[in-house]
């Protein structure tokens, strides 16, 4: 069988790749994609612990479903904000968006 | 082991399993080999039917609708026309336009075909004859359909052509919009059968769900027509507006694959409708003779396919703003209402121990009447608004489709 640690290492790797993307990409849409990667790692982790921990208790899956809803809401609103900023400032580079600086 | 004629498909599987096990192979390996063989047969049979026979059938039926003869040169009744077309397409030069994103450009038609072939995995042909009895079958259908949407976007983007991209965006906007009422009404068979598995849904249909939920069936049919991009929703190929849609730069067999995917998809719609609303393989005597069930299934599927063609050759194309309005302002609210009322009424009927079918029929009749009343009121309001205002410009909507680009 597949050891639990394999899954955990994979999700850790996915999460770290996403983290790198969030910290280093300039494009706001790319940052959002990296956040989706991180969220996916989290969901995968939830399901892994559900399966290896307490497969009889369904709460792990409910939790994962709620995270799906959160991820989708975040993507919808986040992308709308990015589009709106793009229309105003003609840029999607996160480090150029500094209206809240002071 | 003797052959059980009451359960031929189960018996064949068992015979093959025993044969392979006898060769000294492991149990999982045997299961894998059988899965591959079954999948190969399924994909081969359905793709050949779609690519060769259905295209001929559709052209023939279309010709009759338009009082023509249709293909009649190659083979008896022109039956081999599809083969001739395939050979022609294979021999055509395959052009990849300059500036195209080659990898994405080549993957897109493959994904288009795959997304339709994948749908057949969960279609039950007869008792015991189903590729994979997934207990999430209904959602699986929706999920695989999403891959088709992706292939459209990939094709349109990678072609490096304004019209392709415009067509793709339009198509995708339409596909995803119509997915909503489709997914919502799929809740109705799920609710009535208490399962998302296709086999369970067929088993649950002692009374066809078409009779228990005719409005849901109609909504499903309309939205799946739009998913295929068939007339009256063929804005994908609206020649007069956007040249030929997202596959404009494709030629040769790659274009052929998009075409096969489209024809195959409309046939698949027939099969899905049969399974979800027409009782699948069920019919008199099909319980005892599974082969009869297969015949029923194929007959019903081809009947639904005929209805798809009938609609195609009867209705004119609808404008894109009308399509979107139909979806968001009519089908989606209607689907929401259907789901809510079906859930409540069915529960009430069960608690009062009323007969299920008449209650559902009454509910549907009431829904239809209310819908007609609502549409009347809407039309009146619209007319009042239009009469109060000056005439709208005729070119406004056609120009609006392209936008300020």
């Amino acid at each position: 069988m597949i050891p639990l640690s394999w899954y955990l290492i994979l999700t850790a790797a996915l999460f770290c790749v996403g983290l790198f993307g969030v910290l280093s990409r300039r494009n706001a849409v790319a940052i959002l994609m990296s956040i989706e990667l991180m969220l996916n790692a989290v969901i995968l982790n939830l399901i892994v612990f559900w399966r290896y921990g307490q497969p009889a208790d369904i709460s792990g899956q409910v939790f994962a479903l709620i995270v799906f809803a959160v991820a989708a809401s975040e993507a919808a609103v986040g992308l709308a904000l990015i589009l709106s900023i793009y229309r105003r400032r003609s840029t999607v580079a996160a480090d150029d968006i500094n209206m809240l600086k002071w | 082991m003797e052959f059980d004629f009451n359960n031929p498909f189960g018996s064949i599987t068992r015979l093959l399993t025993d044969l392979l096990l006898g060769l000294g192979l492991d149990q999982p390996l045997v299961a894998f080999i059988l899965a591959v063989v079954g999948a190969g047969i399924l994909a081969g049979a359905t793709l050949t039917t779609a690519g060769v026979f259905n295209i001929w059938l559709e052209r023939k039926v279309g010709a009759r609708f338009q009082d023509r003869l249709g293909p009649n040169r190659v083979g008896p009744f022109g039956l081999f026309q599809g083969i001739a077309d395939a050979i022609k397409l294979v021999l055509k030069e395959d052009i990849t336009p300059l500036g195209a994103d080659k990898v994405v450009f080549n993957i897109a038609p493959l994904l288009a075909v795959m997304s339709v072939v994948g749908l057949w995995a969960v279609v039950p042909f007869a008792p015991q004859l189903i590729g994979a009895d997934l207990n999430v079958g209904v959602l699986y259908v929706v999920a695989i359909g999403g891959v088709g949407t992706l292939s459209v976007i990939m094709a349109g983007w990678s072609s490096n052509n304004k019209y392709a991209l415009l067509g793709a965006l339009r198509t995708v906007a339409m596909l995803i919009s119509f997915e909503i009422p489709m997914v919502l009404v799929l809740l109705v068979p799920t609710m009535l059968a208490g399962s998302m598995g296709m086999v369970a849904i067929v088993d649950g249909q002692d009374v066809w769900y078409l009779l228990m939920a005719p409005v849901a069936a109609l909504v499903f049919f309309i939205s799946s027509l739009a998913e295929v991009g068939r007339t009256p929703f063929d804005l994908i190929e609206a020649e007069s507006e956007i040249v030929a849609g997202y596959n404009i730069e494709y030629s040769g067999m790659k274009f052929g694959m998009f075409m096969v995917a489209e024809f195959f998809h409309s046939f698949t719609i027939g099969a899905l409708f049969t399974v979800l609303f027409l009782g699948g393989w069920r019919g008199p005597g099909s319980e005892t003779f599974p082969l009869l069930g297969l015949v029923y299934f194929i007959a019903k599927t081809f009947f639904m396919y005929f209805v798809v063609m009938w609609v195609r050759y009867t209705f004119p194309r609808v404008r894109i703003d009308q399509v979107m309005a139909l979806n968001w302002k009519f089908l989606t609210p209607l689907a929401l209402v259907i789901v809510m009322t079906t859930a409540v009424v069915d529960k009430l009927a069960l608690e009062q121990s009323l007969p299920r079918t008449p209650v559902h029929l009454a509910l549907n009749v009431a829904l239809v009447l209310l819908t007609i009343l609502a549409l009347q009121a809407y039309a009146r309001a619209l007319r009042r608004k239009v009469e109060g205002l000056p005439e709208p410009e005729a070119g406004e909507v056609a120009g609006a489709a392209i936008g300020p680009g």
Partner: protein, 118 residues
């Protein structure tokens, strides 16, 4: 459960291969004589002006947005529909409440004109 999915895992690649094989056959059999005109972008014979990336309308995004929200709603309702036979009336009504709340969202989008194809 997993042997059911094995069939899906077999069918999807086979679908890909079946689509790829005629295209590959075409590569072998079809003529290949590209020239600049053939490879240029097809726009009914009119010269291509500007880049492909014209600005698209926000309306496309808004449809996708509403689609995402309602897609999730439907997906949330599927387990509810599967368990339907075991539910009591008040549980069914909770599902209806869920739909009604999001129906309010559709109404908002309608009133704000977000559903119009401009």
């Amino acid at each position: 459960m997993l042997d059911q999915w094995m069939f899906v895992a077999a069918l999807l690649p086979i679908g890909l291969v079946m689509a790829a094989s005629p295209i590959l056959a075409g590569l072998l059999l079809a003529p290949r004589k590209p020239n600049a005109v053939k490879l240029s972008t097809y726009e009914c014979g009119v010269e291509t002006v500007g880049e492909t990336w014209v600005q698209f309308k926000v309306q496309y995004y808004i449809y996708a947005l509403i689609f995402v929200i309602f897609d999730i709603e439907a997906v949330f309702l599927f387990p509810w529909a599967v368990a339907y036979n075991q539910l009591q009336l008040y549980m069914v009504l909770e599902g209806v409440l869920f739909i009604l709340i999001l129906g309010g969202g559709l109404l908002y989008a309608w009133r704000k004109g977000a559903l119009e194809w401009l």
